[in-house]
Amino acid sequence: MDSSNGNANNQWRVKVGLAEMLKGGVIMDVTTAEQARIAEQAGACAVMALERVPADIRKEGGVARMASPRIIREIMNTVSIPVMAKARIGHFAEAQVLEALEVDFIDESEVLTPADEENHIWKHDFKVPFVCGARNLGEALRRIAEGAAMIRTKGEAGSGNIVEAVRHMRAITSEMRRLTTLRGDELVHAAKELAAPLELVREVAQRGKLPVPNFSAGGIATPADAALVRQLGAEAVFVGSGIFKSSDPDKRARAIVKAATHYEDAKAVLEASEELGEAMRGLDVRQLDPKELLQTRGW
């Protein structure tokens, strides 16, 4: 992208480059420096610093905002792995604060209460890379057009239920497969249907994959959940509430790290699944009031 301008192109390459470095790994939500230390020692490839994990945001309600800079800084000072933090959808001033704080990645996240119901952040304005959630290919490509250097499924954060992440990952990968079967002159209509830029639609049709890394988030609670989304095409996984809402976070974190790497080796996933203690309790997404869904935030 932006190949007309060498500097912009190089900036884009180092953004996507950091996303490449996180592949195969597990990015864990943490709310304290101590949790960040546990996550790093368990093998997390990055941590997401936030004030409350999604399960608590769901339970406690109220407006969920960017975490306090003090907490984020403490976490940055504690671990040597990349530190991500969340900004509200469309809240570019929160993102500016996070960039000034020098976090390594910003998640423009539906888990926080949106600040703008029409516009997402124009992410090309930033030097720090962004990850955004998506439920389908059109949404993923709109976020990439705005400058997201990584896409993750939205899933249903804080639910401990993998069903929505599976739905979103299957939607994205099957829509990509379909694009690869179309004639060139059919891609204009496909772009219209997807409500996505033609240039990106053509790129996906040619390569059969997103132009940025494609990760999974939203409801991953067990090693088998991680193996499932990895086999469905996720190049890495985010685990939000799943670790620190379980009975033995350290053990569960290690187990999910192991399963995310050995996702095709059922014996290794079995080993990771033994003697884990209780997973987070989890919610049946079908029993949730549509107003309680986080995934419908953003478009």
Binding site: N10, R13, V14, G17, L18, E20, M21, L22, K23, G24, G25, E40, A42, G43, A44, C45, A46, M76, S80, I81, P82, E99, E102, V103, D104, F105, K127, V128, P129, R254, V257, T261, H262, D265
Partner: protein, 231 residues
């Protein structure tokens, strides 16, 4: 010759694409059994702390040490470079110690300091494009280490005998020069399986066809004058 790419975490697929472009035979390595089947190893970029968990916890470290003892060539980029170093700082952490280097993690700063740069190297006449991502610094090198490229006055591409180390990511560029150099270095080491020698020279030809004469001044030595104790 079969090249292994450590695939527990990181940008191992980017290395795989490079080797595909060069027509080299490779396998992704996630287990000690897979490591035992290769004759040279690439340790990719990613998070060194994560990779270290897998090396320590799943028997991969022992498998890599066996490969090293058999004279295999290794190539580490960024996190891979950290794993190969003799000593790691900021913070101190364990490493394989195959290359006589002291390395400091995240030394340029956080992601905002990540940059694409370019600098001259011994590998080709034109400057080499270098993608630095939360990159480490090579602080000290042993007497047997050859500096192949510097950037900002610091060594960024070095060779300790059959161990090649880059603090940047040649796998994230369109330029295959550094990987060609590694294939040549891997092919020229004494073959540790006699029956493999014919196949090893095939890979060597791939590298030399692509302009290996430029490398003539830096032929890989077959033994390393490394002063460090083997662990």
């Amino acid at each position: 010759m079969k090249i292994g790419i450590l695939a527990v975490q990181g940008d191992y697929e980017a290395h795989a694409r490079m080797l595909e472009r060069l027509g080299a035979d490779y396998v992704l390595v996630r287990t000690p059994e897979e490591a035992a089947q290769v004759e040279a190893m690439i340790l990719p970029g990613g998070e060194s702390t994560t990779m270290l968990k897998f090396l320590k916890g799943e028997g991969l470290e022992a498998a890599l040490r066996v490969l090293d003892a058999r004279g295999a060539a290794f190539f580490g980029t960024c996190a891979g470079a950290i794993l190969l170093a003799r000593e790691v700082r900021a913070p101190a952490q364990d490493s394989l110690g195959f290359a006589d280097l002291v390395i400091t993690r995240n030394a340029y700063g956080r992601q905002l300091a990540s940059e694409v740069r370019s600098a001259p190297s011994k590998l080709k006449a034109e400057p080499l494009e270098m993608v630095f991502i939360r990159a480490p610094w090579i602080e000290e090198i042993g007497p047997g280490v050859e500096v192949l490229a510097r950037e900002g006055g610091r060594p960024v591409l070095v060779r300790d005998g059959r161990i090649l180390v880059a603090t940047f990511h040649p796998e994230l560029t369109a330029d295959t020069t550094v990987h060609e150099y590694f294939l040549k270095l891997a092919a020229e080491r004494p073959s540790f399986v006699a029956s493999e020698s014919g196949r090893a020279s095939d890979s060597g030809r791939i590298a030399s066809d692509a302009g290996a004469s430029k490398f003539a001044s830096s032929q890989p030595s077959t033994t390393r004058p490394s002063p460090m104790p083997r662990r």
